[in-house]
Amino acid sequence: MEVGPDYAVQMHGIVKVFGSFRALDGVDLDVKKQSIHAILGENGAGKSTLMNVLYGLYQADGGDVFLNGERVSITSPTEAIKHGIGMVHQHFMLVENFTVTENIVLGEEVCSGAGVLDMAKARQEVVKIVEEYGLEVDPDALIEDITVGMQQRVEILKALYRGADTLILDEPTAVLTPQEIEQLIKIMRDLVSKGKTIIIITHKLKEIMSSADECTIIRRGRYMGTVDVSKTNETELASKMVGRHVNLSVDKGPANPGETVLSIRDLHVKDDRGIEVVKGLNLDVRAGEIVGIAGIDGNGQKEFVDAIDNLVHAEAGTIEIKGKQIQNTTPKTTIDTRVATVPSDRHRWGLVLPFTVAENAVLERHNEEQFGHGIMLDLAKVEEFTRGLIEEYDIRPEGCETHTASGLSGGNQQKVIIAREVSSEPDLLVAVQPTRGLDVGAIEFVHKALIRERDRGAAILLVSLELDEVMDVSDTIAVIHDGQIVGSFAQGTVTEEQVGLLMAGGGNE
C-alpha cells in the first residue's frame, strides 16, 4: 500500500517477538483519515500487541509506522499522545473518587501562574470539549457514581482533551449494555464527522458490521487482509478470523422439558454492602431446557447465583433442587446436590491458576475415590482422567495436563472449567457469562456444550450480559430487573427490543 497523507495511520510489515514467540509477523494496517477502522482477531491473535506498538508501549522488532504519510518512531505513550494518538483501554484507568473533570485533566492540569490548580478554568475547557463533540456527561459527577458507559465517555474525553486525532478503542463494548453500545456507535460516528479517526479492537462481528468502514483481520500474528465492511458479511469475517468455516447461528433441536430441577421462591439476597439486590425472585428451571437470564449487570444476577452456590447468605426465600431445599447451607452441599457452576470470573472463581490443568480438572471432585484411596491423592490417576477430558473437549495444547492453567489461552481455560463441570453429569448446570472474553470458535464450542448437556437431560441456567447469547441459546428467556424476574418468554415469542425494554425497567407499569 502506498504511503500517503490520506492515511491517518499506516503500519507496514510490523514484527514483534516475545522470546521465541512471534506475536506479530509482518502485519500491515492502513487506516484512512476520518474513518472507523476495526481490527478483528481472536484472543491472542495480536490485535492489542499491534495497538500497543502504535501507542509506544512496545517497540516493534521490524516494520515501519507512518502518520499522515510521515515516517515516525514512537517510543513511549507520551510521544504517541504528542503525535495525536489516544488510547482507551479495555479496563478504564480512572480515579474512582475524583470528579469527571479532575480525571480528564489529571496529568495535564490547568494551573495559574503560581502553579496553583485552576479547576474553574479546567472545568470550562472540559465543558467546551463535551459540547463540541456532543458527549453528554456531567463534569462534576464522581466517577464512582456514573455508569460504565459514562465512564467510557470520560476515557474518550481524556484522549480528546490531550488533542488526540486518532483514537484507539480496545474492546470498547465488552462492558456495555445493548443500548449503551448503540450510543457508543453514534458517538464514534459523530467524532469521525468532526475529523477524528477511530481504530477499534474487537472480536465482535456484529459491531464491526454496524460501525466500521474497513476491517483488518489478524490471525495468529499474521495479516489476513483488509476488507471493506459494506462488501462483506459476518460469516465471511468469522471464517477469515478463525481460518475455517464457523457456524454463527446456534444449531439446536426443540427442547424436551421434564421435571422441575431448580425452583426458587421469593428469594431475597443482600450484596456485600448490605443492600438488598435480590428482591423476591421466583424462577423455575426444568430438566432438558435452557433458561437464559437477560439483564443489565448489577441487577442481582451475581447475588442470586451466589445464593444457589451458597457463597452468600439468603435473607429469605427458598432454593430447591429436585425438591430438596439447599439455601443457606454450604458450597459443598450445592455441589453434592449435583449442581455444577461455570463461574463468571474464571481466574477468580474457576481456576487455581498456578495449579496444573490436571489439578484444576478435579477441583470439587478430588475427594472421589477414583482419584486416590483414603487420604491419598493419586496424581497419575488425576492426570489420566484429565487426558480423557483434554481429548474429549479438544483442550490445547495437547498433553497440557502437566502445564499450569495460567499458561493456557482464555478459551482453553474455559474449556477446562466446562469439561470439569460437565464431566460430573450435573442435574443443574449454572453457566454465568460462559463466553466472556472468548473468540468465535470457542463461543461455538461453549454453546454446543450447553445444548449437549440439555439434551442429556440436565437443567441449564444461563446467565449472560450478552443479550444475543441469551436470545440465541435459551429455550426460555427470563428477564431480570432490580432483583426480580420481570418477564419470561419462550424462545421466538419475544423480540430483542422487548427484552431490552424490560431489562432497562420499562414495561413494568
Binding site: 457463597l311 454450604t330 455441589i335 481456576l351
Partner: protein, 376 residues
C-alpha cells in the same frame, strides 16, 4: 546457552544463585575490612566440617530450624505467613518441660509423652492464630507476633512458679532424665562406655563431646512427611488450593476457614515439636527466663526463604544456615574478623531469595539475547 537457560528455570536455581552471591558479597566485605576472604572462608568451612564434633554440632543446631523452617514453608504454601514460629517453639519448650518435670515414666513412654506435649503446645498456639483469622478475619501476622510475646512471658511465668523454679537459678528444673533423646545418654558417660569409645576417636568425639540426639531424624522425617502431605494427599491438595486461590477453593466446596485453622495447627505443631526436641535432646534440658527471643523460630523464616518454601529444601537450607552460624564463629577465632560477617552473608542470601523472581527473568533475557544473536 540453552542449558544455562534451562538450569536457571529450575526452582532450586534461585537458592543456589542467592547462596553464591551471598558468599561473593561476604568476600568483598571481608576484603574491604582488611581480611583475606580465602583463608576466612577456609576457617569457616573448617569450623563447619573440620572435625566430627563440628559436624555433629552443625546437625544438632540445624534440627530446630529445619522444623521451624518446614513449619513456615508449609504455612506459606497454604497462603499463610506464620511469623509466630518463635512463639510456638517457646510453647513447645514450656509444655515439654512441664510434662517432663512432672512425670517420670520409663523412657519408652516418657519420651513420646514429652514430645507429644510440646507438639500439642505449639499446635494450640498455631491453631489459636488460625482460629482468630478464620473467625474474625484478623491478620495472622499481627496475632502471631502478639503470640510470640505472650509465649515469651508465659515462659518467664512458668520459670518463676514454685513448682518448676530451680532455686538459685534463672531456670526451671530440668526434665527427668527418662525424657532424654540423646543417643545412649547414660552409657556413653559411664566408664564402660568411655572405654569402649576411646578405640574409635571420631565416635568418641561425637558422642561424648556433643549432645548428639535423635532430633535430626525426626526433623527430616517431618519435612518429608509435610512434603508428601502437600503433594500427595487430598487434604494437602485442598490446602494448596486455599493458599493459591482462596475464592476458587471456596467455590469448589472446600471449607476455607477449617483449612486455615488446620494449616496453622500443623505449622504450630512442627514448631512445638522443635521446642520439645530441644528440651529433650540438649543440655540443660530446661527453660530459662528469656530476656529476648532466641531466634529458633525467626531463623526458621530465613530457612524457609532460602529453601524457596520447599519442605525438603528446608532440610538442606537448615543445615547450611546452622553451618554458617556455627562455622562463622571460627572466622572470628582464627582470623579475628567479626563473626557478624555471617549475618551479612545470611542477610544477603535471604534478601536475594526475596528477589528470587528475578532469576526466571534473567533466564528469559538470556534466551532472548541468544535468539537475537542467532538471528543476527
Amino acid at each position: 546457552m540453552k542449558t544455562i537457560v534451562k538450569l536457571l528455570r529450575k526452582p532450586i536455581a534461585a537458592s543456589i544463585l542467592a547462596i553464591v552471591v551471598g558468599f561473593i558479597i561476604a568476600a568483598i566485605v571481608l576484603a574491604a575490612a582488611g581480611y583475606a576472604p580465602g583463608p576466612s572462608f577456609a576457617a569457616m568451612f573448617n569450623g563447619m566440617i573440620g572435625r566430627p564434633k563440628y559436624i555433629s554440632n552443625v546437625i544438632i543446631k540445624a534440627t530446630p530450624i529445619i522444623l521451624t523452617g518446614t513449619a513456615v514453608a508449609f504455612a506459606f504454601k497454604t497462603g499463610l505467613f506464620n511469623i509466630g514460629a518463635e512463639g510456638q517453639y517457646i510453647l513447645g519448650t514450656i509444655c515439654a518441660v512441664i510434662v517432663g518435670v512432672t512425670f517420670n515414666l520409663p523412657p519408652l513412654l516418657q519420651i513420646p509423652l514429652v514430645i507429644l506435649a510440646g507438639t500439642l503446645g505449639g499446635a494450640l498456639g498455631g491453631a489459636a492464630v488460625g482460629w482468630l483469622k478464620a473467625r474474625f478475619g484478623i491478620n495472622e501476622v499481627i496475632t502471631s507476633i502478639m503470640f510470640n510475646w505472650i509465649s515469651l512471658y508465659l515462659c518467664n511465668f512458668v520459670v518463676n512458679t514454685q513448682t518448676f523454679h530451680q532455686p538459685e537459678s534463672t531456670s526451671t528444673f530440668p526434665v527427668n532424665p527418662s525424657s532424654y533423646t540423646m543417643i545412649l545418654p547414660q552409657w556413653k558417660l559411664s566408664e564402660e562406655g568411655l572405654n569402649a569409645l576411646s578405640g574409635t576417636p571420631w565416635l568418641y568425639e561425637v558422642l561424648v563431646k556433643t549432645d548428639v540426639n535423635i532430633g535430626i531424624l525426626i526433623a527430616v522425617a517431618a519435612a518429608i512427611l509435610i512434603a508428601v502431605l502437600l503433594k500427595r494427599t487430598k487434604i494437602g491438595y485442598e490446602m494448596r488450593a486455599v493458599g493459591l486461590n482462596r475464592e476458587a477453593a471456596q467455590f469448589a466446596g472446600i471449607n476455607v476457614n477449617r483449612n486455615i485453622v488446620t494449616c496453622m495447627l500443623i505449622s504450630g505443631a512442627l514448631c512445638g515439636l522443635a521446642g520439645a526436641l530441644s528440651v529433650t535432646g540438649l543440655e540443660p534440658h530446661n527453660i530459662s527466663t528469656l530476656a529476648a527471643f532466641e531466634n529458633n523460630g525467626f531463623n526458621g523464616l530465613s530457612v524457609a526463604f532460602i529453601a524457596g518454601s520447599s519442605p525438603i529444601g528446608c532440610i538442606f537450607a537448615g543445615l547450611l544456615f546452622s553451618g554458617l552460624i556455627y562455622g562463622g564463629q571460627s572466622v572470628q577465632q582464627v582470623m579475628g574478623a567479626p563473626s557478624d560477617i555471617i549475618n551479612i552473608m545470611i542477610g544477603t542470601i535471604v534478601f536475594l531469595m526475596a528477589l528470587s523472581q528475578i532469576v526466571p527473568m534473567i533466564a528469559d533475557r538470556l534466551e532472548r539475547k541468544s535468539k537475537g544473536a542467532e538471528n543476527a
